[in-house]
Amino acid sequence: MLEKALVGSRRYWTWVFFLSAIVAIGFINYLFQFKNGLGITGMSRDVSWGLYIGQFTFLVGVAASAVMLVIPYYLHDFKKFGKIVILGEFLAVASVTMCISFIFVDLGQPMRVLNVILHPTPNSILFWDMIVLNGYLFLNIVIGWVTLSSDRKGVKPPSWIKSLIYLSIPWAFSIHTVTAFLYAGLPGRHFWLSAIMAARFLASAFAGGPALLIILALIVRKLTKFDPGREPIQALGKIVTYAMIANVFFLGLEFFTAFYSQIPGHTHPFKYLYAGLEGHGKLVPLMWASTVLAIISLILLVVPQWRRSERILAFACGALFVSLWIDKGFGLVVGGFIPNPFEGVTEYWPTLRETFIALGVWALGFLVLTLLYKIAVSVREETEGIEIEH
């Protein structure tokens, strides 16, 4: 089926080459970073994780969201998702590819990355993150590919695929729980030291991922002959709405605990992010933008007439995605390091090269997504009218 990604219109190839160019620019900057060290980024002794790890954290959520299609379709026979589950699975593949790439570019000694396998350390959450991420990548590639090629041939997929599909459901929850555990168990970082981290992560994942999926489905409908269908998109919209309500509610819970208890370790990071601390406030405009976008998107999503309009839904999903990207992909990670263990403030902002490397990884992910979606959409176009058998 790979050959389907090798034929396409002029628009398709222009897009592929555009993405490849951004990947190349990112790669060149990465070579510079490899030679000169991570000092070319904005990270410091105090803020030792920045844009790369933030993006990784956000994208694990997007990857996990495939499960929001798999559960209704495979566990509850919600036939409407039949044609688009593949879009969720392939989005998961692209997202996990980006996650692994972001971790790789963040390492100080990337040539030693195999040490994590050569010296397995079960007490380290990073060890488990490596296992669950790679496992999830493998699961989604196999499940997506096998089910899609069965659809193309018009037959039922082999029976063993069902066990992998059922496995992928708890596995999807696990990837984001494990990623949350990276943060939630560190005794010195009070911004993260909260039991609700994993729940917050999952809620924002199940809001942000399907939101992206809605936008991608609408793009697919516009650019190709495959129409995902109005009803699946509406169903996804309801999932996004409920997940976003949960996510905003959980954030509110965190605010309450911090500000009602008045414990400095809890209040200070929030103060830094939303009001500035000791004269430092680089992130304040960003965090408020995230809040405003979240509120706007929630209002547009909750009101049924507005959610039913696909234009308004698309706008709400876009606003929601950006809002969550800021909150999880930036605010969460940086906020954990500010104030530092000495109650001082060292701010962080990514450098230009760091941004190019990050964009390069995003372009790589979108390239993988484009190629996989081209294959999936071509199969759907070919088999239009034929019932899905799995």
Partner: protein, 274 residues
Amino acid sequence: MSMDRRQFLKVAGISTIFGLGGAPVINWLRNDGLEASHVLTDEKALIGKHWAMVIDMSRFETEEDYRRVIHACHSIHNVPNLDNPKDAVKWIWTDTYHHTFPGQENEYIPEEIKHKPFILLCNHCQNPPCVRVCPTKATFKRKDGIVMMDQHRCIGCRFCMAGCPFGARSFNYKDPRPFIKEENKEYPTRTIGVVEKCTFCFERLAKGLIPACVEASQNAAKEAGKEPGMFFGDLEDPASEVRKVLSTRYSIRRKQELGTQPSVFYIIGGGKNA
């Protein structure tokens, strides 16, 4: 004999797996031919079950008192001189009382303590979160209590830096070598992309010497006829210096409530402030 493409691919795949898997097995079976050789610890080495340090801040009075201990450590360990808050690499350094003990904010402590620099370093915790999170055991806890660094294995993920509640660890964001004033040829440097921190001078302990900072502080005190400001010893040895000092003077540790069990104890007041 005919074989279709599927069968051929299956045979090729399984042979590859066996071939690749065989290599480590053969490596393991083959010995290096040196039965008689073995490793030992040096007889002079200091042996302990739980190394700890006591810092009596009342004995630190002049700028030289601080400079001497920091210089002792940073010079023999080739610690690069990058002093900016972004790339700083430091194994032992100074900061104010409020930054050293953030949970102990107190507006009414004596002025001299409020403005006095305190000495900070890795606390070599008994229950270290940095060791718990390291994915390669590049940082690990020795039997004698030292939280050690294996710079050969570190992949530079900086999870340990996120895990340390005390900000004791530094990362080599740049190549350190251009920033080393005078190299000590008997100790290695580090390289880009690995984390480093105080190691309680494990290489000196192995030769029977106490940590450089403690030695510098104690030598200077002896010369000036004063009481020393730093003590080092085995907490599990009731006759050790550290046990004697801790049993007679009140001490605190940084962020005790987090349960990491630091092994560096601070005596704050002393003399008139006892």
